[in-house]
Amino acid sequence: MIGIRSVTKTFGALTALDDVSLDIADGTFLSLVGPSGSGKSTLLDLLGGLTTPTSGEILIDGEPVRGPGLDRGVVFQQYALFPWRTARTNVEFGLEGGPLGKRQRAERAREYLALVGLSGFEDRYPHELSGGMKQRVAIARSLAYDPAVLLMDEPFAALDAQTREQLQEELLRIWRRTGKTIVFITHGIDEAVYLGQQVAVLTSRPGRLKAVVDVDLGDRTGDVRSGPEFGRQRHRLWELLHDEVRKAAEHERSAAR
């Protein structure tokens, strides 16, 4: 379980996150939405242990986070693959220095590349792969060392609509199969509703937790996006976000003046 306890994060005079508290149960798929500048990525960095809160604390299974670790995996929007490594050795990256031998690492990498549908692409370099395939490799890399939590920072934002939809479906499949806790940042309402069991909404700067909405779409079979329930959930979120997006835009305008 992830416990975010009254977390505030400031950068100089700027308050990115203001007194955010949120519990995320094990195995939950949580979407995190908010206008730009609402501190979504900051919250993810905090969960990943890449920065420390100015005040408050973050607990994972009761233990405060004291830096990055292999119990959490991070997936970035821009893939962050090592260009000098092949798909397979990229996936092996997080396993190196661990208990597995060389052959076992290769085996594990192959297994996870297969999980994300990339069998046969093991020896390709990142520049030989499409954007969607790169993100699959990145997901496989984060899953390979079996973290309990997967932190995803707008991972599908740079992909075309069709690839994005395909990857969303696969992510749900992987989530069901592995039972990971997933915290998924997005600025797309549709994506948040389609993926998340829960959607947490952050306010515009400073980022505060505005609401946590439960989404119940059954098992999401077929074309759920055009069903009435999806539309209803989507609209609820839209209303929650609308004000915040307007506020954020006003803020940006006045800052630019």
Partner: protein
């Protein structure tokens, strides 16, 4: 729920060559195109002295064939090999020392940003001080023997390697560093597994530049107080009015330079196979 996976489509067909005859013709056109300028230059060098220049000027700029004849004679009596060996020995020694010193130093400086910021202006100054401008200084301090020549090569080679190594370490994609840090990598492992491999191509570009410089600078250095070497050959030939032999030396130098550079280009490509290929 449909979870059948469609095999991801590869966007570029890497293995699909265009029909053969067209490819051959394309390569031929490209080869002609690439060598046209050199062929033209060779023809001019041969024909202009023969048919255009008057007797007096022709003495100082003989047709290419005569220079090549002189080069052939030098090669046959073993003299060319002696000079070549002397030059390559000095270049290689200076180059090797420079690389051995500058790569580790550059990694160190690049890794500690404040040190890099502190030293950068001085390094820029040193790099932009032409090595040959310092030849008299080297001669004064180290005499006219091997030491001053090799030192000069070291000096000329250190800067491109050092600056490229620093740049290579400094320009590592911060996202890759972040990704590695998110995996809990310690600093030494981060350096070894991310910084170093990511810097290799940039470092190697510096090494290739240094290899070129090592020859360029050395030839000039050999014109002062040497008893062998291609620079010495060019200089004494000029003094002794063996004009063809002088050009033979010049040709030897430029061929050597081209060979060294293209050798390093091949090596460089081998070290950076992971970079997207540049379109020819």
């Amino acid at each position: 729920m449909t979870t059948t996976l469609e095999a991801p489509t590869v966007h570029t067909r890497l293995t699909d060559p265009p029909p053969k005859p067209r490819r051959f013709r394309k390569q031929l056109t490209r080869a002609v195109h690439a060598s046209a300028a050199v062929v033209l230059f060779v023809l001019l060098w041969e024909l202009v002295p023969r048919f255009v220049l008057d007797e007096g000027t022709r003495t100082f700029l003989p047709p290419l064939s005569e220079d090549l004849q002189a080069l052939w004679d030098l090669a046959l009596d073993g003299e060319l090999a002696d000079h070549l060996l002397a030059s390559v020995g000095r270049s290689a020694a200076g180059f090797a020392i420079a690389v051995a010193v500058a790569v580790p130093l550059g990694l160190l400086i690049g890794w500690y940003r404040p040190v890099a910021r502190f030293l950068q202006p001085l390094l820029e100054l040193a790099r932009n001080t032409a090595a040959l401008a310092l030849l008299p200084v080297f001669t004064l301090l180290l005499g006219i023997g091997e030491l001053s020549k090799v030192s000069l090569v070291v000096y000329a080679c250190v800067w491109p390697v050092l600056l490229n190594t620093i740049a290579g370490v400094n320009t590592v994609d911060p996202l890759l560093v972040k990704a590695a840090r998110s995996l809990g990598l310690s600093s030494p492992r981060l350096f070894r597994k991310v910084i170093l491999p990511s810097a290799v191509p940039t470092v190697f570009t510096g090494i290739r530049m240094a290899a070129s410089y090592s020859i360029l600078v050395l030839v000039a250095a050999e014109m002062v107080g040497a008893k062998a070497g291609l620079g010495y050959l060019i200089n004494t030939s000029q003094v002794n009015f063996q004009i063809q032999q002088m050009y033979a030396g010049i040709i030897a130098v430029s061929v050597l330079g081209v060979l060294v550079n293209s050798g390093f280009v091949v090596l460089e490509r081998r070290f950076s196979t992971w970079r997207p290929k540049e379109k020819p």
